[in-house]
Symmetry: C2
Subunit: 350 residues, 2 copies
């Protein structure tokens, strides 16, 4: 970075001059300006004073550095605002992204939009105004217009989802998206369950389709079909409603599979409130492997899809595209079932 | 907005010309460019094509509109990345902010920093580079350098916390920060509890001090003192460790008060795993009133500090400062106890 900063027009004050005046290295100047590294407040002030005295502006340097060096990555979420609050999935994703972005002084520009048209218009505006260096695309759809749009705009992007060599932008995620659900069904079948119900996410999402297909196939291979399949909007309120409905079915399921952990925890609470014991009377499986599931009672059996690691890998892919020196992204294969205490042998028929 | 957009140098194409060419209103052009409103994808494309044909650039207009009209608000979080993932408090805050920002086409620029020096340097850089229109300051400290810094930088800011007329920047939050904890203690005393332990947040945070003082005063007024006070880093792991430690005390507490809901839920799980019933053997109080607490079993007694509403009020205060036409922020007084099922009468001595 220092070399590039020094390569400006000679008429203007240089970072070297600022470093010399402040009695620090150019790296320290860079850190003071970028808010990275571990320099003291006193050093930072000395650098800023020297910069101010010499008329050296970090802004001008940053602009000179590269046309679009904003150190900002966009994360546009096409969801109602209340899901952001209730579904910890996004906090986990943001945590994974920030773990890579923060140490390099990058920020995450979060926008919530109502639909795909708004999302597309937003990328065009952010690119036109030079506000971002890249974008993380979430909630891949079967017919997703964004990869082509962003390639057209020349903006580095990654799409979260199963790797696909034919995609116009890199896809970052675990392979075999259905593998965790297949494992979950296998686990329930081994425990003797035959009446399993599936709570899915919104029907238009690609991962909803992949996971539901895996669920139905795995049951079909055992000569079974789901007791019930219900789509949901991922909210806790929906978890309560759907659990109450499923537990009132004449052919009551002995196991419920949820599309995220917060819904699974709410499903357990709803079952317990109706007098059922988990897992004695009802087995429950979540999805995401959030830390909460490790501590509730009973501990949650869930599918680990490594949300934080996927976020970190997406960030590294984008950072590499921005010319940053980052280790290659590491992702460990496929979603895996984590068996804890919320699943158990099928209750004997009463 | 249209009037301002039209007030550019006459030599350049106008938004009016773009609107006429696309056969839409100037408001629709503005919506197409900003990704706001409810226009169809077809209309949006028509507008973008007309803009492109006439050589009208939304970027230039946006710049002309006002020097620093970035439609971006900064949220800098001075916490380890893993707390962001495990504490839903930030998701709730972001949800509240986005509920006001998103409909107006504003984004939230999220940065994680390690300490106050990094946070200060970051504001200086973001202002110097013209990247933000305002900032939301969280985790107020007793001796907080940020209000003076941001006033000096000329950046609109709000500091989350109890209102304080003497503050250099507006403070947005509920008054009487200790009121919820006082109510919680009163509730536990009424239920007959005398051995109450308090799990606090990090000691350097202002709200940690205010709440702890309220807790100790409320007990003192009843002639009691806490069985134990422990500081924590807000994580679920800490909740498990501190709960195990407190339940092993010779003078075991009959009630635990936690600094957030996710810690309280983990505390309940830890107590249940050790064979204790909640609330029969142990009462537990949370803080935040997250939606999760409504659905777990037993439902969580907690203090509602209206995190989403505080976020919304902070966003409105900043948006008004950016010249947006927003309703005045509304906040309902003070934190209040929400009594549910995780608190009950003190167990009879064994």
């Amino acid at each position: 970075m220092n070399k590039r900063l020094e390569g400006r027009a000679p008429a203007r004050p240089t970072i070297k001059a600022v470093a010399a005046a402040a009695g620090v290295s150019t790296a320290a100047v860079s850190q003071a300006v970028n808010g990275t590294g571990r320099i003291s407040e006193a050093t930072r002030r000395r650098v800023m004073d020297a910069a101010s005295e010499l008329g050296w502006s970090p802004s001008a340097s940053a602009t000179a550095l590269r046309r679009a060096r904003t150190r900002t990555i966009a994360l546009v979420v096409r969801r109602p605002t209340d899901v952001l609050g209730s579904d910890p999935h996004f906090s986990e994703l943001i945590t994974g992204l920030e773990g890579e972005l923060a140490p390099r002084g990058y920020g995450l520009l979060l926008h919530l939009v109502a639909d795909m048209a708004q999302e597309s218009a937003l990328y065009e505006r952010l690119v036109a105004e030079g506000r971002i260096d890249g974008a993380v695309l979430t909630d891949a759809r079967a017919d997703d217009p964004r990869p082509d749009l962003l390639r057209g705009l020349g903006l580095p992007a990654v799409l979260l989802g199963a790797p696909d060599a034919g995609s116009p932008v890199p896809r970052v995620g675990l392979g075999q998206q259905g593998a965790g659900i297949r494992e979950a069904v296998g686990h329930l079948l081994e425990l003797g369950h035959r009446r399993v119900a599936y709570v899915a996410g919104p029907a238009e999402l690609l991962h909803t389709r992949l996971r539901l297909a895996a669920f139905e196939e795995a049951l079909e291979e055992a000569g079974l079909s789901p007791v019930a399949v219900r789509h949901s909007d991922f909210t806790e309120r929906a978890a309560v409603d759907v659990t109450e409905e499923l537990l009132a079915l004449p052919d009551r399921p002995t196991a419920l599979v949820f599309p995220n952990d917060s819904m699974a925890v709410c499903g357990i609470g709803t079952a317990q409130r109706s007098g059922l014991r988990v897992p004695d009377d009802l087995s429950v499986v979540g999805y995401d492997n959030l830390s909460l599931g490790r501590w509730v009672h009973p501990r949650l059996t869930t599918v680990d899809q490594q949300v934080q690691r996927v976020g970190a890998a997406a960030a590294r892919t984008l950072l590499a595209g921005c010319g940053e020196d980052v280790p290659p992204p590491v992702l460990d294969g496929r979603p895996r079932l984590v068996v804890r205490e919320s699943t158990g042998p099928v209750p004997s028929p009463t």
